[in-house]
Symmetry: C6
Subunit: 70 residues, 6 copies
């Protein structure tokens, strides 16, 4: 099974947040917390649109956790 299998619950969950334009928080291994809405996702990255509408290419390898913005 490849990491980016669209049948996986985790990929579908991010897809739902994308479609719903649900603001999310992404905590990185650098301890950065990025806030924005998911623009799209692929095998390597999640493209986040930050609050200034700027696209941030977040490398999946650097993600610790992702959750809806509280």
């Amino acid at each position: 099974m490849s990491d980016f299998d669209t049948g996986l619950p985790s990929i579908r969950q991010v897809q739902t947040y994308t479609q719903d334009k649900q603001p999310v928080e992404i905590k990185l291994l650098t301890n950065d917390i990025l806030v924005g809405t998911v623009f799209w996702q692929d095998h390597n990255c999640i493209c986040l649109q930050d609050e200034g509408q700027q696209p941030i290419l977040v490398w999946r390898q650097a993600i610790a956790y992702l959750k809806p913005k509280s």
Copy 2:
């Protein structure tokens, strides 16, 4: 053998905690400690329901250890 082989003791152990709704602590490589109950797990993530019932997608790659909440 893929990392997410449901025959593995480690996957089964998390499955048991899931079914028993056993509160767990997950220590991340960021030194965060997340507390909650496991909602589900897949190849890439463990979905934790935190104490505010919010789903947190925890990337397996960022996990140091997991244990029952003391």
Copy 3:
């Protein structure tokens, strides 16, 4: 699917920045932020030309996120 599949949106996005000579910021897992223009990219690295026109071979494994220079 290999990580460096030029059909991936994330690879194409970096390719666009390369062609447009768009200055970018690359945040690394070391918490360094490198600024420059993307010279080229391959399976392992992104070659960044810094503001002193020097080539920096950035290992993909060390990247947290990449975005247009604000």
Copy 4:
């Protein structure tokens, strides 16, 4: 060769500590040092029984080194 090949000296060494109930120290990439006896090991994890007899699922990916408890 898969990482979890029971013919590997490193897997056998941990197996010996397991059978001998040899207390060990596991240093993690988080700089935590976990102390206990190895309960079992699999492809992804080493299950450590800490001094309170609690099972800790230690992700192999987070291990820096393992040695007999001095």
Copy 5:
């Protein structure tokens, strides 16, 4: 494509520095900066000769970036 494909621009760039005995700086994920000339490179490591002519086996997995010594 394997990570160590000598057709890759990134591998060739390091090869050029090796042949030219170009002093380089290698920034590691530990935040160390190693300075020296590349002696040789293989699938797992870059062998750097430091300023005391000592060989340092640098694990590729630990590299953040590499650039000519400024």
Copy 6:
């Protein structure tokens, strides 16, 4: 090519240190520096005998660099 190919210069270099009982320093991603002689190496680990003759199983994944003890 597997990471642990005994034809690789980096594997052979560690093998030479092993046979010569050459004391080495291993710098880890945790910033620990372990000192000792290499007892053996395999696909996952390098077994170091520290100055107290104790075997330390060092996970290859945690190694930044290795060099002869200065």
